[in-house]
Symmetry: C2
C-alpha cells in the first residue's frame, strides 16, 4: 500500500518520562511485521479515556471502561490485526489473560492494565499468541514512538503521531500522542485508537474532563465513511514526572494551558486520521455558520461531510454546490433555501437561493485542484457554527474495502 497522498511525516517525539514503549510480533495475522505494542507506565500514572458509542462494543472497550473508573494505569497493550470484537466469552477471556500476564510481570493489579485491539471482527484473539507476544515484548529493548505508532496500524498507510507542550506551574510538560485509523471512522465517538502520553502531574478526574472536552472538538468532528468501529478508544496517560504542582481543576496553575495543549494535540491526531482516510485524495474542511444552534450546525456539517455525492464531487474536482444544497436539505435541521450561501475556498458560489451570477470560476477550479478543500455554508438563520473534517470518496476506498478480509 502506497502512502496516502495527504500523509504527513512523523514528528520528533521525545521520550516521555515514565512511559516506555516496546513492540513485538504476536503473529495475529499472516504478516511479517510487529503487531503487539506494550507500553509500561510508572506507578502513579493517571488515566482518562473515551470509548465508542457502539451498542456492540468489543470486550477490550468494556474492560477499559471498567478500569477507567479507578483512574490509574501501569501498562497499555495494543493488538493489531484482530479486533477481538464480537467473540463472546472467548474474547473476554483473551483480554483477561493479557491483563493477568502483564499484572504478573509488573506485580500490579490486572485493572491497572489497559488493552485495545484493532483488526478483523469476529475472530477470537488467540491467547497463546498474545501471551508469547507479551513475553517477547517484556524482553525487548524500548523503542521509539514512531515504531509504536507503526505497530498499531492496520489499513493505515502511514504512522501517525503528534507532540505539543504546555507550561504548567512554571514547568514545561510534554504531551505526545499516537493514533491509528483510516476506515470505519465516524463522529460522535471516540473514534479509532488513540493514545496520549504526558509527564504532567494531573488528577485523573481533571484529565478526564480535559480529554472529553478535547474529544468533542476533534475526534468527534471527523468522519471518513460514517461507519463506527466497535473498538474505538482514546486513552490519555499522565505519568506525573514533570514535577508540576498537581493539576486538580480549572483553577490550578496552568490548567487552561494544559487543556489547550491537549485539545491541540487531539485535533492534530484527528486530522492525521482524516489524512489517512481510506482512498483519500483530498482533505476537506466543512464550516457551517448561521445555523439555529451549534448542535444544528454540527449535524448539518456532518450531513455534508458524510454525503457520498458531495465526497465524490470533490474527488472529481467539481464545484457541484447543488449537492451541498442537497446535503443541507437532508440533514433535517432548520434551513431556508432562499437564505443559504455556499463558498468553495472562500469564493461565494451561491447565495440567497440561487447561483451567484457570473462568479469567477477560475479561483474555485484552482482551489478544487488542490488537496486541501474548504467548503463554507452560511444558513443566515442564527448564531450556530461548527467545523468538521473529512476526505473525499474515491476508487481507492472501494478497492480497499471490497477486498479487505480475504
Amino acid at each position: 500500500m502506497d502512502h496516502s497522498p495527504l500523509a504527513r511525516p512523523f514528528p520528533e517525539i521525545p521520550a516521555i518520562a515514565g512511559a516506555v514503549p516496546r513492540i513485538a510480533r504476536a503473529g495475529y495475522k499472516n504478516w511479517d511485521r510487529c503487531d503487539l505494542t506494550y507500553i509500561e507506565l510508572d506507578a502513579g500514572t493517571a488515566v482518562a479515556g473515551v470509548t465508542t458509542q457502539s451498542k456492540c462494543p468489543s470486550p477490550e472497550v468494556e474492560w477499559c471502561r471498567n478500569a477507567l473508573v479507578l483512574g490509574r494505569a501501569r501498562a497499555l497493550v495494543v493488538n493489531a490485526g484482530n479486533s477481538n470484537a464480537f467473540t463472546g466469552n472467548r474474547g473476554r477471556m483473551a483480554v483477561e489473560a493479557i491483563a493477568a500476564r502483564v499484572a504478573g510481570h509488573l506485580g500490579c493489579q490486572p485493572s491497572d492494565v489497559f488493552v485495545a485491539s484493532t483488526g478483523v471482527i469476529g475472530v477470537p484473539l488467540p491467547i497463546d499468541r498474545a501471551e508469547a507476544g507479551l513475553d517477547a515484548a517484556f524482553a525487548a529493548a524500548p523503542c521509539g514512538w514512531e515504531d509504536a505508532a507503526a505497530t498499531i496500524m492496520t489499513t493505515d498507510t502511514f504512522a501517525k503521531g503528534a507532540v505539543t507542550r504546555a507550561v504548567v506551574d512554571g514547568r514545561t510538560v510534554t504531551l505526545a500522542g499516537i493514533v491509528k485509523g483510516s476506515g470505519m471512522i465516524a463522529p460522535d465517538m471516540a473514534t479509532m485508537l488513540g493514545f496520549i502520553f504526558t509527564d504532567a502531574v494531573i488528577d485523573p478526574a481533571f484529565l478526564q474532563r480535559a480529554l472529553s472536552a478535547a474529544n468533542r472538538a476533534s475526534f468527534s468532528c471527523i468522519t471518513v465513511d460514517s461507519d463506527t468501529s466497535t473498538s474505538d478508544t482514546v486513552l490519555a496517560f499522565a505519568t506525573g514526572k514533570a514535577g508540576n504542582a498537581p493539576l486538580i481543576d480549572d483553577d490550578s496553575d496552568g490548567a487552561d494551558a494544559f487543556a489547550a495543549a491537549l485539545a491541540d494535540l487531539c485535533l492534530q491526531l484527528a486530522h492525521l486520521v482524516v489524512r489517512d482516510g481510506e482512498g483519500a485524495g483530498k482533505f476537506i474542511r466543512v464550516d457551517v455558520e448561521g445555523a439555529a444552534s451549534d448542535a444544528s450546525a454540527h449535524r448539518i456539517a456532518l450531513s455534508i461531510a458524510n454525503s457520498p455525492l458531495v465526497k465524490t464531487a470533490i474527488a472529481g474536482e467539481d464545484a457541484n454546490w447543488g449537492r451541498i444544497v442537497m446535503a443541507v436539505g437532508k440533514a433535517g435541521e432548520p434551513a431556508e433555501r432562499d437564505k443559504l450561501s455556499i463558498r468553495f475556498g472562500g469564493v461565494q458560489v451561491a447565495t440567497g437561493g440561487l447561483a451567484v451570477e457570473g462568479y469567477d470560476e477560475a479561483p474555485v477550479a484552482a482551489h478544487l485542484k488542490g488537496d486541501e478543500i474548504e467548503i463554507g455554508v452560511d444558513l443566515n438563520l442564527g448564531e450556530g457554527r461548527a467545523t468538521v473534517w473529512t476526505c473525499d470518496l474515491t476508487h481507492g476506498y472501494i478497492s480497499i474495502n471490497a477486498d479487505y478480509r480475504s
Copy 2:
C-alpha cells in the same frame, strides 16, 4: 452507459383510459433525446402525492404540494436534465410558466397541472425551451408508457415501469407506474420521481391515504447512497374511467384490493430503482427481526443498508459479518452483542455473540456470488421487524458521481 446488470425488461403496460402520454425534445441538456414528458389527464382525475422531506425542496415540489390540496389534476409535465432546484424566483417563474402554458392549452386551472423536474441542481430551467418543448408535445402523437419512462430518465440505465390490477366493485381496474432514479436515493422520503396512473374511480383523500401507506413500505424502505434529492416526488393519478363505485374509504367495496395492488405496484417500482442504483452489481435485501420495535428495526436495517463498509463487502462477495455487527452497533438502537444472530442467504454465520463454529462456508460463498443477496439479523430482544432494500457500493458509483456535472 451500459444497462445495469440488475436491469429488468419493461413490462407490457396497457393504455390507461383518460391518461395519454406524449414526449418531446425541449433540449434542457446538450443531448440527442426527448427530455419532456407531457401526460394529459381527463377531467375528473383525482390525484395524491408524497414529496421529499428535504428542507430545501425544489419549486416543483412546492408547486405540487400546493396543488395536491385541491385533489384534482388535468396534466403532468416532467422535465429531465435540469432539476430547477435552488434557482430562486427564476425557478418558481419557470414552473408557473409551464403550468400557465398547459392551462391555456387545456382550458383548465394552472393548479390542475403538476410539474416535476430532475437533473442538475442550481441552473434555472430555461422557460423558452420548456414552452417550445410543451408546444411540440401538444402537437405530438401519443406514445407508449415505455417511451414516457425513458424520457424521464437522467443517470438511469434502463426505463422502469410496473403494472398490476385489482378487482374493485366487480370491475378490474388497472394500476400502472413509471419511475426514475438511481442516485441521491435515501429512505424516509418519497424518493425519486414516480408517477402512477389508474383508471379506478377513487376519492382523492382515500387515494392519498393508500399512497402514503404504500410509500411507507416501499419507497421509504430503499436506499442507494443515503443521499436525499431536493426534488423527490411520487404522484398517483386516478382517471375514474373504470366505472367502479367510487372508492371512498376502507369500507368501500374493493378498498383492500386496491390498496394492496397499489402497495404491490409501489414496491415493484421501488425495487426497480434499487436495481438501477448507480454502479449497482448486487440487489440486497436486509431483514431485521427481534428488535425492540418496528421503528427500531427499520433504523437498524437502514444503518446496515447505508453502511459503506457493508456495501463494499457485498461488492467484494465477502461474508464479512463483522461489518454487519458494526452497523448494528452504530445505529444507536437497543442491541445486545451477545444475543445477536446474523444470516447470509438463510445460513446462520454468527449467533449469541460469536461466529457459528464450523458453519458451512460453501453455500454462503455461493449465495454471495449471485446478484440477489439476503442479509438477516435477529436481535433476539423483541418483536420489531423491518425489511429494506439496497445495492452494493462499487467503482461504478465513484465513476458516475466523480464526473457527473462536467
